[in-house]
């Protein structure tokens, strides 16, 4: 918001916001009721984040907000003012090789229709950052906030296991 610190804040229906998405800063005037999911998809045309329910259950809309996995359908764009958002489009590197998580999903057939996939990959990204060596049970538990209707989760679990292994190896190598 562009209110100065000394001014008393007032109620508005529109705000100018500045959001960094995948390293790029976007400045836009938006209605206050615009959901973050719609901002990403339609204001800045990052359509990789998908909408499955708009009531916070399915996880298709998951993005990272300041590094934490959140449901973008349960936030207003104005709440992301000044924050850093990472979406699926930001996962592959600048040389556009697939991120190890994406690569693992390819190898293990961890997606079918692809609609829940971006949300799952963002959640997995956050999950593995916090817990680099999860058991299968932990993987399933942590994934329970993302619904997939195509895969039966079997191959997703295997993909996460493989991704975890590869990320650990890479981390060890880097060190």
């Amino acid at each position: 918001m562009q209110e100065q610190e000394e001014e008393t804040p007032v109620f508005t229906e529109e705000c100018t916001i500045s959001v960094t998405v995948n390293g790029h800063r976007y400045e836009q005037r938006v209605p206050v009721r615009l959901l973050l999911s719609d901002f990403l998809r339609h204001e800045i045309h990052h359509t990789g984040t998908h909408i499955g329910c708009e009531h916070g259950v399915c996880g298709c809309c998951t993005v990272l907000l300041n590094g934490e996995a959140v449901r973008s359908c349960l936030m207003f764009a104005v709440q992301a003012d000044g924050m850093v958002v990472t979406t699926i489009e930001g996962m592959a590197g600048t040389n556009s090789h697939l991120h190890p998580i994406q690569q693992a999903f390819q190898e293990k057939h961890g997606l079918q229709c692809g609609f829940c996939t971006p949300g799952i990959i963002m959640s997995v990204h956050a999950m593995l950052h916090e817990n680099p060596n999860p058991s299968d049970d932990e993987i399933r538990h942590e994934l329970s906030g993302n619904i997939c209707r195509c895969t039966g989760y079997q191959n997703i679990v295997e993909a996460v296991r493989l991704a975890a292994e590869r990320l650990r190896e890479h981390h060890t190598e880097v060190q």
Partner: protein, 290 residues
């Protein structure tokens, strides 16, 4: 499912927020984590004309160890509490309860105080607060007051908050070092609102009897239910099988008749509550130190 129109403001100072809350009375809602509130807006089940977003009020972002309790400010995320070294050390029961809340994506945004203020009968924290005999700090431009948990939760999604008032802090009393504790819930899927659940804190005497028991249930009535009938059944006992059976029977009587929904009838909730009680008490008693 897009939210209806509203006017929005995001103050950075608590006093400003309280002033804004006063301006338009009960047509104003506070937005913190939004994990319960925004779905209602998206479904147009709520249509406040004014929304005050408190997420920028940094003075409300604290977890503090006070005398005998943890004080948590209104903008603290559930995930913060889950990861807090202070809370893990001082109040593992609180951590355990928080871990049962939804999924990590919810806990990354949802706030501790927000869950208390929302007062869903199936929510974990209101029941925990009731079990611990905790309290909340309520502020308005007219001043502040402290309300005990059992007086705060008045019914289904209802609290003692008056228009213009805001919950700014919740206080979770610490439990004695020798006390055993447990938090258990029955739910259909991982991360769902529980069908029924409960928190228990059992303190043993020197000769291994139950000196005091604090038990509160979620999902069995419109508000969290302190299980006094169960506590009474345990007093002075060693929690043998027949005591647990009696406790389970006592617990059944606590379930309100109007707690029937698509997931469970009141009668089935009684069945679950009885079984839950046995498991809960066993688990809590197991954790005691004597």
């Amino acid at each position: 499912m897009k939210p209806p129109r509203f006017q929005y403001c995001a103050p950075r100072i608590l006093d400003e927020a309280l002033t804004l809350l006063d301006q338009n009375g009960d047509d104003t809602k506070v937005l913190a984590g939004g994990q319960s509130f925004v779905p209602l807006l998206n479904m147009r089940l709520a249509a406040p004309a004014y929304i005050v977003d408190i997420n920028h009020i940094s003075e409300l972002n604290y977890i503090e160890h006070e005398d005998g309790y943890l004080a948590i400010g209104a903008t603290v995320r559930q995930r913060q509490v889950e990861r807090s070294a202070l809370v893990q050390e001082k109040h593992p029961l609180l951590v355990e309860a928080v871990k049962h809340i939804g999924h990590m994506q919810i806990r990354n945004r949802g706030t501790i105080v927000g869950s208390i203020a929302h007062a869903d009968p199936g929510a974990e924290l209101p029941a925990l607060l009731t079990c611990l005999n905790g309290e909340v700090l309520v502020q308005s431009s007219r001043g502040e007051r402290v309300i005990k948990a059992e007086e705060f939760f008045t019914g289904y999604l209802s609290t003692a908050l008056e228009p213009g008032e805001m919950l700014t802090e919740v206080r979770f009393p610490l439990i004695a070092s020798q006390a055993g504790w447990a938090f258990i819930e029955f739910s259909r899927r991982s991360g769902d609102y529980a069908l029924v659940g409960a928190a228990a804190v059992l303190t043993p005497t020197a000769d291994n009897r139950c000196m005091s028991a604090y038990i509160a249930y979620l999902g069995i009535a419109g508000a969290p239910m302190r299980g006094r009938a169960v506590e009474d059944a345990l007093a002075g006992t060693m929690l043998d099988e027949s005591t647990l059976d009696a406790a389970a029977e006592a617990a059944r009587t606590l379930v309100s008749d109007d707690m029937s929904d698509v997931h469970a009838t009141a009668e089935y909730r009684r069945v679950l509550t009885a079984e839950l009680t046995k498991r809960l008490l066993k688990a809590a008693w197991e954790r005691r130190r004597h």
